[in-house]
Symmetry: C2
Subunit: 298 residues, 2 copies
Protein backbone atom coordinates (compact mmCIF):
# COMPACT_ATOMS: atom_id res chain seq x y z
CA UNK A 1 0.00 0.00 0.00
CA UNK A 2 1.21 3.45 -0.94
CA UNK A 3 0.92 6.77 0.83
CA UNK A 4 0.14 9.96 -1.08
CA UNK A 5 3.15 12.14 -0.35
CA UNK A 6 3.44 15.01 -2.82
CA UNK A 7 1.42 16.77 -5.50
CA UNK A 8 3.37 18.21 -8.43
CA UNK A 9 2.13 20.14 -11.41
CA UNK A 10 3.43 21.63 -14.63
CA UNK A 11 1.28 24.78 -14.83
CA UNK A 12 1.72 26.70 -18.06
CA UNK A 13 0.00 29.35 -20.11
CA UNK A 14 -2.24 26.81 -21.81
CA UNK A 15 -1.82 23.48 -20.06
CA UNK A 16 -1.99 22.14 -16.52
CA UNK A 17 -0.84 18.59 -15.74
CA UNK A 18 -0.86 17.36 -12.15
CA UNK A 19 0.78 14.31 -10.57
CA UNK A 20 0.23 12.53 -7.25
CA UNK A 21 3.30 10.73 -5.86
CA UNK A 22 3.69 8.03 -3.26
CA UNK A 23 6.57 8.00 -0.79
CA UNK A 24 8.89 6.32 -3.33
CA UNK A 25 8.28 8.97 -5.99
CA UNK A 26 6.06 6.74 -8.11
CA UNK A 27 3.17 8.56 -9.78
CA UNK A 28 -0.06 7.04 -8.44
CA UNK A 29 -2.50 9.44 -10.12
CA UNK A 30 -2.52 12.04 -12.89
CA UNK A 31 -4.89 14.79 -13.89
CA UNK A 32 -4.90 17.31 -16.76
CA UNK A 33 -7.10 20.39 -16.59
CA UNK A 34 -7.99 23.44 -18.60
CA UNK A 35 -6.69 25.97 -16.05
CA UNK A 36 -3.68 27.34 -17.94
CA UNK A 37 -2.89 30.95 -17.01
CA UNK A 38 -4.79 32.30 -19.97
CA UNK A 39 -7.91 30.34 -19.01
CA UNK A 40 -8.08 31.27 -15.32
CA UNK A 41 -10.80 33.85 -15.86
CA UNK A 42 -11.88 35.18 -12.47
CA UNK A 43 -10.29 32.32 -10.49
CA UNK A 44 -7.32 32.99 -8.25
CA UNK A 45 -4.45 30.50 -8.43
CA UNK A 46 -5.53 29.01 -5.13
CA UNK A 47 -9.13 28.64 -6.28
CA UNK A 48 -8.03 27.06 -9.54
CA UNK A 49 -5.78 24.60 -7.72
CA UNK A 50 -8.47 23.67 -5.21
CA UNK A 51 -10.96 23.16 -8.06
CA UNK A 52 -8.90 20.30 -9.50
CA UNK A 53 -8.36 18.42 -6.22
CA UNK A 54 -10.98 15.76 -6.85
CA UNK A 55 -11.12 12.01 -7.48
CA UNK A 56 -7.76 10.57 -6.35
CA UNK A 57 -6.64 14.08 -5.35
CA UNK A 58 -9.71 14.80 -3.17
CA UNK A 59 -8.93 15.93 0.38
CA UNK A 60 -5.17 16.02 -0.21
CA UNK A 61 -4.62 19.77 0.19
CA UNK A 62 -2.53 19.08 3.30
CA UNK A 63 0.23 17.57 1.10
CA UNK A 64 3.14 19.68 -0.10
CA UNK A 65 2.78 21.00 -3.64
CA UNK A 66 5.53 21.72 -6.15
CA UNK A 67 4.68 23.70 -9.29
CA UNK A 68 6.73 24.50 -12.41
CA UNK A 69 5.99 26.57 -15.50
CA UNK A 70 4.49 30.00 -16.09
CA UNK A 71 2.81 29.84 -12.67
CA UNK A 72 6.18 31.22 -11.47
CA UNK A 73 6.27 34.11 -13.94
CA UNK A 74 5.54 37.75 -13.20
CA UNK A 75 1.97 37.07 -14.33
CA UNK A 76 1.80 33.91 -12.20
CA UNK A 77 0.95 33.13 -8.59
CA UNK A 78 4.19 34.64 -7.38
CA UNK A 79 7.33 35.40 -9.35
CA UNK A 80 10.11 32.84 -8.94
CA UNK A 81 12.99 34.77 -10.55
CA UNK A 82 14.90 32.97 -13.31
CA UNK A 83 17.98 31.10 -12.08
CA UNK A 84 21.18 31.64 -14.05
CA UNK A 85 22.74 29.04 -16.37
CA UNK A 86 24.82 27.00 -15.96
CA UNK A 87 22.47 25.41 -13.44
CA UNK A 88 22.06 22.00 -11.84
CA UNK A 89 18.93 20.56 -10.29
CA UNK A 90 20.42 21.47 -6.90
CA UNK A 91 20.80 25.11 -7.93
CA UNK A 92 17.16 25.20 -8.95
CA UNK A 93 16.00 23.48 -5.76
CA UNK A 94 17.85 26.09 -3.70
CA UNK A 95 15.87 28.86 -5.39
CA UNK A 96 12.33 27.58 -4.93
CA UNK A 97 9.83 30.28 -4.00
CA UNK A 98 6.96 29.74 -1.55
CA UNK A 99 3.53 30.83 -2.70
CA UNK A 100 2.09 33.28 -0.17
CA UNK A 101 -0.59 31.27 1.63
CA UNK A 102 -1.42 30.81 5.34
CA UNK A 103 -2.17 27.12 5.05
CA UNK A 104 -1.10 25.56 1.73
CA UNK A 105 2.51 24.41 1.34
CA UNK A 106 3.28 25.41 -2.27
CA UNK A 107 6.81 25.63 -3.69
CA UNK A 108 7.32 27.16 -7.13
CA UNK A 109 10.21 26.19 -9.39
CA UNK A 110 12.14 29.10 -10.90
CA UNK A 111 12.77 29.16 -14.63
CA UNK A 112 16.25 29.41 -16.13
CA UNK A 113 17.95 32.17 -18.04
CA UNK A 114 21.05 31.97 -20.20
CA UNK A 115 23.12 34.85 -21.49
CA UNK A 116 25.29 34.31 -24.55
CA UNK A 117 28.89 35.28 -23.80
CA UNK A 118 29.33 36.18 -27.50
CA UNK A 119 26.27 38.24 -28.26
CA UNK A 120 24.84 39.17 -24.88
CA UNK A 121 21.51 37.73 -26.04
CA UNK A 122 19.28 36.40 -23.30
CA UNK A 123 17.05 33.35 -23.27
CA UNK A 124 14.49 32.19 -20.75
CA UNK A 125 12.54 29.01 -20.05
CA UNK A 126 9.89 28.03 -17.50
CA UNK A 127 8.80 24.44 -17.11
CA UNK A 128 11.28 22.98 -19.59
CA UNK A 129 14.08 23.06 -16.98
CA UNK A 130 11.98 20.68 -14.86
CA UNK A 131 11.59 18.32 -17.81
CA UNK A 132 15.32 18.42 -18.52
CA UNK A 133 16.18 17.57 -14.90
CA UNK A 134 13.52 14.87 -15.06
CA UNK A 135 15.43 13.15 -17.85
CA UNK A 136 18.35 12.52 -15.49
CA UNK A 137 21.30 11.00 -17.33
CA UNK A 138 19.23 10.83 -20.52
CA UNK A 139 19.52 14.60 -20.77
CA UNK A 140 23.25 14.57 -21.51
CA UNK A 141 24.07 16.37 -24.75
CA UNK A 142 21.57 18.34 -26.81
CA UNK A 143 17.91 18.34 -25.73
CA UNK A 144 15.12 19.74 -27.91
CA UNK A 145 11.83 20.78 -26.34
CA UNK A 146 9.56 21.76 -29.24
CA UNK A 147 6.58 24.01 -28.69
CA UNK A 148 5.29 27.57 -28.85
CA UNK A 149 8.80 28.74 -28.00
CA UNK A 150 11.06 25.78 -28.77
CA UNK A 151 14.15 25.27 -26.63
CA UNK A 152 17.47 23.67 -27.54
CA UNK A 153 19.44 23.01 -24.35
CA UNK A 154 23.05 21.91 -23.92
CA UNK A 155 23.41 19.63 -20.90
CA UNK A 156 26.69 18.35 -19.44
CA UNK A 157 27.12 16.45 -16.21
CA UNK A 158 23.56 17.21 -15.19
CA UNK A 159 24.13 20.91 -15.68
CA UNK A 160 22.14 22.99 -18.17
CA UNK A 161 25.03 24.94 -19.70
CA UNK A 162 23.05 27.20 -21.99
CA UNK A 163 20.09 27.11 -24.34
CA UNK A 164 18.40 28.94 -27.18
CA UNK A 165 14.78 29.70 -28.01
CA UNK A 166 13.02 29.68 -31.38
CA UNK A 167 9.60 31.28 -31.73
CA UNK A 168 8.60 28.54 -34.15
CA UNK A 169 5.23 27.49 -32.78
CA UNK A 170 3.92 30.97 -32.10
CA UNK A 171 5.20 32.21 -35.45
CA UNK A 172 3.22 29.48 -37.18
CA UNK A 173 0.07 30.45 -35.30
CA UNK A 174 0.27 34.21 -35.91
CA UNK A 175 1.20 33.85 -39.58
CA UNK A 176 -1.61 31.38 -40.20
CA UNK A 177 -4.25 33.37 -38.34
CA UNK A 178 -3.21 36.94 -39.03
CA UNK A 179 -1.07 37.25 -42.16
CA UNK A 180 -1.60 37.09 -45.90
CA UNK A 181 0.05 33.64 -45.81
CA UNK A 182 -2.96 32.11 -44.06
CA UNK A 183 -5.51 33.50 -46.51
CA UNK A 184 -4.90 30.96 -49.25
CA UNK A 185 -4.81 27.97 -46.89
CA UNK A 186 -7.94 25.88 -47.00
CA UNK A 187 -9.05 22.52 -45.67
CA UNK A 188 -5.61 21.72 -44.19
CA UNK A 189 -4.26 18.19 -44.65
CA UNK A 190 -0.98 16.69 -43.49
CA UNK A 191 1.22 16.60 -46.59
CA UNK A 192 4.63 15.13 -45.86
CA UNK A 193 6.04 16.03 -49.29
CA UNK A 194 5.03 19.70 -48.88
CA UNK A 195 6.39 19.69 -45.32
CA UNK A 196 9.75 18.28 -46.41
CA UNK A 197 9.94 20.73 -49.32
CA UNK A 198 9.67 23.51 -46.75
CA UNK A 199 12.32 21.86 -44.59
CA UNK A 200 14.65 21.43 -47.55
CA UNK A 201 14.34 25.04 -48.64
CA UNK A 202 14.91 26.30 -45.09
CA UNK A 203 18.08 24.21 -44.85
CA UNK A 204 19.37 25.83 -48.04
CA UNK A 205 18.17 29.40 -47.53
CA UNK A 206 18.67 31.34 -44.30
CA UNK A 207 16.80 34.45 -45.52
CA UNK A 208 13.71 33.66 -43.45
CA UNK A 209 11.71 36.83 -44.20
CA UNK A 210 12.12 36.14 -47.90
CA UNK A 211 11.65 32.37 -47.86
CA UNK A 212 8.44 32.53 -45.85
CA UNK A 213 6.85 34.65 -48.60
CA UNK A 214 7.05 31.59 -50.85
CA UNK A 215 4.02 30.26 -48.95
CA UNK A 216 2.09 32.86 -50.90
CA UNK A 217 3.81 32.54 -54.27
CA UNK A 218 3.71 28.73 -54.31
CA UNK A 219 -0.05 29.06 -53.86
CA UNK A 220 -0.45 31.82 -56.45
CA UNK A 221 1.24 29.61 -59.06
CA UNK A 222 -0.61 26.46 -57.97
CA UNK A 223 2.63 24.68 -57.13
CA UNK A 224 1.25 23.78 -53.71
CA UNK A 225 -2.44 23.13 -53.12
CA UNK A 226 -4.41 25.18 -50.59
CA UNK A 227 -4.79 22.11 -48.33
CA UNK A 228 -1.00 21.53 -48.29
CA UNK A 229 0.15 25.10 -47.69
CA UNK A 230 -0.04 24.74 -43.93
CA UNK A 231 2.30 21.72 -44.06
CA UNK A 232 4.68 23.65 -46.32
CA UNK A 233 4.77 26.64 -43.95
CA UNK A 234 5.30 24.33 -41.01
CA UNK A 235 8.25 22.80 -42.88
CA UNK A 236 9.84 26.20 -43.48
CA UNK A 237 9.48 27.12 -39.81
CA UNK A 238 10.73 23.89 -38.27
CA UNK A 239 13.40 23.66 -40.96
CA UNK A 240 14.63 27.18 -40.15
CA UNK A 241 14.90 26.30 -36.49
CA UNK A 242 16.84 23.11 -37.21
CA UNK A 243 19.08 24.81 -39.80
CA UNK A 244 20.16 27.45 -37.27
CA UNK A 245 20.95 24.85 -34.60
CA UNK A 246 22.70 22.53 -37.04
CA UNK A 247 25.02 25.38 -37.98
CA UNK A 248 25.93 25.78 -34.30
CA UNK A 249 26.16 22.14 -33.26
CA UNK A 250 26.55 19.98 -36.35
CA UNK A 251 24.94 16.56 -36.39
CA UNK A 252 25.07 15.67 -32.69
CA UNK A 253 22.92 13.05 -30.99
CA UNK A 254 19.78 14.79 -29.76
CA UNK A 255 17.02 14.00 -27.31
CA UNK A 256 13.56 15.32 -28.08
CA UNK A 257 10.89 15.75 -25.41
CA UNK A 258 7.20 15.37 -26.10
CA UNK A 259 4.75 13.34 -28.12
CA UNK A 260 2.03 13.60 -30.73
CA UNK A 261 1.94 15.15 -34.18
CA UNK A 262 4.36 18.00 -33.44
CA UNK A 263 7.13 15.65 -32.32
CA UNK A 264 6.60 13.47 -35.39
CA UNK A 265 7.13 16.55 -37.57
CA UNK A 266 10.33 17.43 -35.73
CA UNK A 267 11.59 13.87 -36.04
CA UNK A 268 10.90 13.84 -39.79
CA UNK A 269 12.61 17.21 -40.23
CA UNK A 270 15.61 16.20 -38.08
CA UNK A 271 16.03 13.03 -40.10
CA UNK A 272 15.85 15.00 -43.34
CA UNK A 273 18.46 17.41 -41.98
CA UNK A 274 20.85 14.53 -41.29
CA UNK A 275 20.36 14.09 -37.55
CA UNK A 276 20.51 10.32 -37.39
CA UNK A 277 20.72 9.83 -33.63
CA UNK A 278 17.43 11.10 -32.21
CA UNK A 279 15.95 9.77 -28.96
CA UNK A 280 12.39 10.60 -27.95
CA UNK A 281 11.37 11.15 -24.33
CA UNK A 282 7.84 11.33 -22.97
CA UNK A 283 6.97 14.86 -21.86
CA UNK A 284 4.69 13.98 -18.94
CA UNK A 285 7.21 11.52 -17.54
CA UNK A 286 9.96 14.11 -17.82
CA UNK A 287 7.84 16.70 -15.98
CA UNK A 288 6.73 14.35 -13.21
CA UNK A 289 10.24 13.00 -12.57
CA UNK A 290 11.71 16.49 -12.63
CA UNK A 291 9.20 17.80 -10.10
CA UNK A 292 9.97 14.87 -7.78
CA UNK A 293 13.72 15.31 -8.19
CA UNK A 294 13.60 19.03 -7.43
CA UNK A 295 11.29 18.51 -4.47
CA UNK A 296 13.56 15.85 -3.02
CA UNK A 297 16.30 18.46 -2.70
CA UNK A 298 14.30 21.15 -0.92
Amino acid sequence: MTTPTLIGADWGTTNFRMFLYDETGAVIAKHAANIGLKNLGVLSFEQALMSVLKDEFAGLDHLPFILSGMVGSRQGWIEAPYAACPSTVKDIAAQLVRAPHPRLDVAIVPGLYAKSPDTGLLNVMRGEETQIYGLGDDAEGLVILPGTHSKWAQVEGGEVKTFSTHMTGEMFQVLKANSILGILMDDDKDDEAAFLKGVERALNDKAFLSLIFSVRTEALFNNIKPESLSSYMSGILIGSEIAAEKEKHGNKPVGIVGDGALIELYKAALKFAGFDRVTQHDGDTASSRGLWAINSLR
Copy 2:
Protein backbone atom coordinates in the same frame (compact mmCIF):
# COMPACT_ATOMS: atom_id res chain seq x y z
CA MET B 1 -2.27 75.91 -71.81
CA THR B 2 -2.27 72.21 -71.27
CA THR B 3 -4.73 69.51 -72.28
CA PRO B 4 -5.72 66.71 -69.89
CA THR B 5 -4.65 63.59 -71.75
CA LEU B 6 -4.39 60.60 -69.43
CA ILE B 7 -5.36 59.51 -65.92
CA GLY B 8 -3.02 57.11 -64.18
CA ALA B 9 -3.31 55.50 -60.77
CA ASP B 10 -1.35 53.27 -58.46
CA TRP B 11 -4.18 51.27 -56.88
CA GLY B 12 -3.05 48.99 -54.10
CA THR B 13 -4.47 47.05 -51.18
CA THR B 14 -4.33 50.07 -48.89
CA ASN B 15 -3.48 53.13 -50.99
CA PHE B 16 -4.80 54.81 -54.11
CA ARG B 17 -2.85 57.63 -55.75
CA MET B 18 -4.11 59.18 -58.99
CA PHE B 19 -2.36 61.44 -61.50
CA LEU B 20 -3.69 63.66 -64.30
CA TYR B 21 -1.26 64.17 -67.19
CA ASP B 22 -1.13 66.77 -69.95
CA GLU B 23 -0.10 65.88 -73.50
CA THR B 24 3.61 66.19 -72.63
CA GLY B 25 3.36 63.75 -69.73
CA ALA B 26 3.60 66.44 -67.05
CA VAL B 27 1.44 65.76 -63.98
CA ILE B 28 -1.08 68.61 -63.73
CA ALA B 29 -3.15 67.24 -60.81
CA LYS B 30 -2.84 64.59 -58.12
CA HIS B 31 -5.31 62.94 -55.80
CA ALA B 32 -4.96 60.35 -53.03
CA ALA B 33 -8.00 58.48 -51.76
CA ASN B 34 -8.95 55.85 -49.24
CA ILE B 35 -10.21 53.32 -51.80
CA GLY B 36 -7.55 50.66 -51.50
CA LEU B 37 -8.85 47.15 -52.27
CA LYS B 38 -9.42 46.37 -48.62
CA ASN B 39 -11.50 49.54 -48.15
CA LEU B 40 -13.82 49.18 -51.15
CA GLY B 41 -16.73 47.93 -49.08
CA VAL B 42 -19.75 47.52 -51.33
CA LEU B 43 -18.31 49.66 -54.14
CA SER B 44 -17.39 48.09 -57.47
CA PHE B 45 -14.06 49.14 -58.96
CA GLU B 46 -15.89 51.30 -61.46
CA GLN B 47 -17.97 52.99 -58.76
CA ALA B 48 -14.88 53.61 -56.64
CA LEU B 49 -13.02 55.12 -59.59
CA MET B 50 -15.94 57.35 -60.55
CA SER B 51 -16.26 58.51 -56.92
CA VAL B 52 -12.80 60.09 -57.01
CA LEU B 53 -13.22 61.95 -60.32
CA LYS B 54 -13.84 65.35 -58.79
CA ASP B 55 -12.11 68.72 -58.62
CA GLU B 56 -9.49 68.81 -61.40
CA PHE B 57 -10.54 65.28 -62.39
CA ALA B 58 -14.28 66.11 -62.70
CA GLY B 59 -15.88 65.18 -66.03
CA LEU B 60 -12.74 63.49 -67.36
CA ASP B 61 -14.02 59.92 -67.54
CA HIS B 62 -13.65 60.02 -71.34
CA LEU B 63 -9.84 60.03 -70.94
CA PRO B 64 -7.86 56.80 -71.08
CA PHE B 65 -6.96 55.34 -67.70
CA ILE B 66 -3.91 53.28 -66.80
CA LEU B 67 -3.83 51.48 -63.46
CA SER B 68 -1.07 49.58 -61.67
CA GLY B 69 -0.96 47.64 -58.40
CA MET B 70 -3.23 45.08 -56.77
CA VAL B 71 -6.14 46.29 -58.92
CA GLY B 72 -4.68 43.81 -61.46
CA SER B 73 -4.58 40.88 -59.04
CA ARG B 74 -6.99 37.96 -58.90
CA GLN B 75 -8.91 39.92 -56.25
CA GLY B 76 -8.81 43.10 -58.37
CA TRP B 77 -10.91 44.53 -61.19
CA ILE B 78 -9.59 41.98 -63.64
CA GLU B 79 -6.52 39.78 -63.39
CA ALA B 80 -3.55 41.02 -65.38
CA PRO B 81 -1.31 37.93 -65.20
CA TYR B 82 2.23 38.46 -63.94
CA ALA B 83 4.77 39.04 -66.72
CA ALA B 84 7.98 37.03 -66.53
CA CYS B 85 11.38 38.47 -65.59
CA PRO B 86 13.61 39.53 -67.18
CA SER B 87 11.22 42.22 -68.39
CA THR B 88 11.53 45.66 -69.95
CA VAL B 89 8.93 48.42 -69.92
CA LYS B 90 8.05 47.35 -73.49
CA ASP B 91 7.36 43.79 -72.38
CA ILE B 92 5.01 45.08 -69.69
CA ALA B 93 3.26 47.47 -72.07
CA ALA B 94 2.62 44.58 -74.47
CA GLN B 95 0.80 42.68 -71.72
CA LEU B 96 -1.64 45.34 -70.51
CA VAL B 97 -5.13 44.01 -69.81
CA ARG B 98 -8.30 45.96 -70.58
CA ALA B 99 -10.84 46.23 -67.78
CA PRO B 100 -14.20 44.89 -68.99
CA HIS B 101 -16.32 48.00 -69.46
CA PRO B 102 -18.57 49.18 -72.32
CA ARG B 103 -17.49 52.81 -72.12
CA LEU B 104 -14.41 53.40 -69.94
CA ASP B 105 -10.97 52.92 -71.50
CA VAL B 106 -9.04 51.31 -68.64
CA ALA B 107 -5.71 49.50 -69.11
CA ILE B 108 -4.27 47.52 -66.23
CA VAL B 109 -0.53 46.95 -65.80
CA PRO B 110 0.51 43.35 -65.11
CA GLY B 111 2.78 42.64 -62.19
CA LEU B 112 6.10 40.81 -62.57
CA TYR B 113 7.22 37.41 -61.45
CA ALA B 114 10.74 36.08 -61.09
CA LYS B 115 11.80 32.47 -60.68
CA SER B 116 15.17 31.74 -59.14
CA PRO B 117 17.19 29.46 -61.43
CA ASP B 118 18.97 28.05 -58.35
CA THR B 119 16.15 27.34 -55.97
CA GLY B 120 13.01 27.49 -58.09
CA LEU B 121 11.60 30.01 -55.63
CA LEU B 122 9.08 32.43 -57.05
CA ASN B 123 8.59 36.11 -56.34
CA VAL B 124 5.87 38.51 -57.41
CA MET B 125 5.32 42.27 -57.41
CA ARG B 126 2.43 44.53 -58.42
CA GLY B 127 2.88 48.27 -58.65
CA GLU B 128 6.59 48.28 -57.87
CA GLU B 129 7.44 47.37 -61.50
CA THR B 130 5.76 50.61 -62.57
CA GLN B 131 7.87 52.58 -60.08
CA ILE B 132 11.04 50.88 -61.28
CA TYR B 133 10.29 51.71 -64.93
CA GLY B 134 9.42 55.23 -63.80
CA LEU B 135 12.96 55.69 -62.51
CA GLY B 136 14.32 55.34 -66.04
CA ASP B 137 18.13 55.30 -66.07
CA ASP B 138 18.16 55.94 -62.31
CA ALA B 139 16.94 52.37 -61.81
CA GLU B 140 20.19 50.80 -63.00
CA GLY B 141 21.68 48.48 -60.39
CA LEU B 142 19.95 47.47 -57.19
CA VAL B 143 16.61 49.09 -56.33
CA ILE B 144 14.95 48.70 -52.92
CA LEU B 145 11.20 49.28 -52.55
CA PRO B 146 10.44 49.00 -48.82
CA GLY B 147 6.97 48.25 -47.58
CA THR B 148 4.62 45.54 -46.42
CA HIS B 149 6.40 43.12 -48.75
CA SER B 150 9.74 44.80 -49.51
CA LYS B 151 11.30 44.24 -52.92
CA TRP B 152 14.97 44.23 -53.95
CA ALA B 153 15.19 44.38 -57.75
CA GLN B 154 18.22 43.96 -60.01
CA VAL B 155 17.96 46.21 -63.06
CA GLU B 156 20.29 46.21 -66.06
CA GLY B 157 19.82 48.14 -69.28
CA GLY B 158 16.25 49.01 -68.33
CA GLU B 159 15.44 45.36 -67.77
CA VAL B 160 14.26 44.00 -64.42
CA LYS B 161 16.45 40.88 -64.28
CA THR B 162 15.11 39.39 -61.08
CA PHE B 163 14.01 40.42 -57.60
CA SER B 164 13.35 39.12 -54.12
CA THR B 165 10.65 39.81 -51.53
CA HIS B 166 10.93 40.17 -47.76
CA MET B 167 7.81 40.08 -45.61
CA THR B 168 9.34 42.70 -43.33
CA GLY B 169 6.49 45.19 -43.00
CA GLU B 170 3.73 42.64 -42.57
CA MET B 171 5.84 40.61 -40.14
CA PHE B 172 6.27 43.70 -37.98
CA GLN B 173 2.54 44.32 -37.96
CA VAL B 174 1.46 40.78 -37.11
CA LEU B 175 4.11 40.30 -34.44
CA LYS B 176 3.25 43.62 -32.81
CA ALA B 177 -0.50 43.10 -32.91
CA ASN B 178 -0.83 39.37 -32.41
CA SER B 179 2.22 37.85 -30.72
CA ILE B 180 3.72 37.80 -27.25
CA LEU B 181 6.35 40.27 -28.50
CA GLY B 182 3.80 43.08 -28.73
CA ILE B 183 2.47 42.59 -25.22
CA LEU B 184 5.31 44.33 -23.42
CA MET B 185 5.44 47.27 -25.85
CA ASP B 186 3.93 50.44 -24.46
CA ASP B 187 3.79 54.10 -25.46
CA ASP B 188 6.07 53.58 -28.51
CA LYS B 189 8.76 56.16 -29.16
CA ASP B 190 11.36 56.30 -31.93
CA ASP B 191 14.59 55.13 -30.32
CA GLU B 192 17.48 55.14 -32.77
CA ALA B 193 19.86 53.38 -30.40
CA ALA B 194 17.40 50.51 -29.84
CA PHE B 195 16.71 50.35 -33.58
CA LEU B 196 20.41 50.13 -34.45
CA LYS B 197 20.98 47.52 -31.73
CA GLY B 198 18.36 45.39 -33.52
CA VAL B 199 20.03 46.03 -36.87
CA GLU B 200 23.45 45.15 -35.49
CA ARG B 201 22.26 41.89 -33.99
CA ALA B 202 20.46 40.92 -37.20
CA LEU B 203 23.64 41.53 -39.20
CA ASN B 204 25.53 39.17 -36.86
CA ASP B 205 22.90 36.51 -36.35
CA LYS B 206 20.91 34.91 -39.16
CA ALA B 207 18.79 32.73 -36.83
CA PHE B 208 15.71 34.93 -37.22
CA LEU B 209 13.26 32.78 -35.22
CA SER B 210 15.67 32.82 -32.31
CA LEU B 211 16.81 36.44 -32.52
CA ILE B 212 13.28 37.83 -32.69
CA PHE B 213 12.54 36.25 -29.29
CA SER B 214 15.04 38.69 -27.78
CA VAL B 215 12.32 41.35 -28.10
CA ARG B 216 10.73 39.56 -25.17
CA THR B 217 13.83 38.78 -23.14
CA GLU B 218 15.31 42.27 -23.47
CA ALA B 219 12.06 43.56 -22.01
CA LEU B 220 11.89 40.93 -19.26
CA PHE B 221 15.36 41.94 -18.05
CA ASN B 222 14.69 45.69 -18.46
CA ASN B 223 17.51 46.06 -20.97
CA ILE B 224 15.14 47.82 -23.36
CA LYS B 225 12.28 49.99 -22.13
CA PRO B 226 8.68 49.24 -23.15
CA GLU B 227 8.56 52.41 -25.27
CA SER B 228 11.69 51.40 -27.21
CA LEU B 229 10.82 47.75 -27.89
CA SER B 230 9.00 48.57 -31.08
CA SER B 231 12.10 50.33 -32.46
CA TYR B 232 14.24 47.35 -31.45
CA MET B 233 11.94 44.88 -33.21
CA SER B 234 11.86 47.09 -36.28
CA GLY B 235 15.68 47.05 -36.26
CA ILE B 236 15.80 43.26 -36.13
CA LEU B 237 13.36 42.98 -39.03
CA ILE B 238 14.90 45.58 -41.34
CA GLY B 239 18.36 44.38 -40.33
CA SER B 240 17.47 40.78 -41.23
CA GLU B 241 16.27 41.89 -44.65
CA ILE B 242 19.42 43.90 -45.33
CA ALA B 243 21.69 41.15 -43.98
CA ALA B 244 20.23 38.62 -46.40
CA GLU B 245 20.61 40.93 -49.39
CA LYS B 246 24.09 42.05 -48.39
CA GLU B 247 25.15 38.41 -48.39
CA LYS B 248 23.93 38.10 -51.99
CA HIS B 249 25.08 41.41 -53.40
CA GLY B 250 27.76 42.86 -51.15
CA ASN B 251 27.93 46.62 -50.73
CA LYS B 252 26.60 47.78 -54.11
CA PRO B 253 25.19 51.24 -54.81
CA VAL B 254 21.45 51.09 -54.15
CA GLY B 255 18.46 53.20 -55.02
CA ILE B 256 15.63 53.33 -52.51
CA VAL B 257 12.08 54.32 -53.46
CA GLY B 258 9.72 56.11 -51.11
CA ASP B 259 9.67 58.72 -48.41
CA GLY B 260 8.74 59.30 -44.79
CA ALA B 261 9.72 57.56 -41.58
CA LEU B 262 10.06 54.07 -43.08
CA ILE B 263 12.61 55.18 -45.66
CA GLU B 264 14.58 57.03 -42.99
CA LEU B 265 14.79 53.77 -41.01
CA TYR B 266 16.00 51.87 -44.06
CA LYS B 267 18.59 54.56 -44.81
CA ALA B 268 19.88 54.44 -41.23
CA ALA B 269 20.05 50.64 -41.32
CA LEU B 270 21.72 50.56 -44.76
CA LYS B 271 24.33 53.04 -43.56
CA PHE B 272 24.96 50.96 -40.43
CA ALA B 273 25.33 47.86 -42.63
CA GLY B 274 28.00 49.58 -44.70
CA PHE B 275 25.98 50.59 -47.77
CA ASP B 276 27.57 53.98 -48.39
CA ARG B 277 26.11 54.75 -51.81
CA VAL B 278 22.34 55.12 -51.29
CA THR B 279 20.16 57.29 -53.54
CA GLN B 280 16.58 58.09 -52.56
CA HIS B 281 13.81 58.43 -55.15
CA ASP B 282 10.35 59.86 -54.57
CA GLY B 283 7.70 57.14 -54.70
CA ASP B 284 4.87 59.20 -56.21
CA THR B 285 7.12 60.56 -58.94
CA ALA B 286 8.33 57.05 -59.75
CA SER B 287 4.75 55.78 -60.02
CA SER B 288 3.50 58.67 -62.13
CA ARG B 289 6.44 58.54 -64.53
CA GLY B 290 6.16 54.77 -64.82
CA LEU B 291 2.46 54.89 -65.63
CA TRP B 292 3.12 57.49 -68.34
CA ALA B 293 6.03 55.52 -69.77
CA ILE B 294 4.06 52.28 -69.96
CA ASN B 295 1.02 54.02 -71.45
CA SER B 296 3.16 55.68 -74.13
CA LEU B 297 4.05 52.23 -75.43
CA ARG B 298 0.56 50.80 -75.70
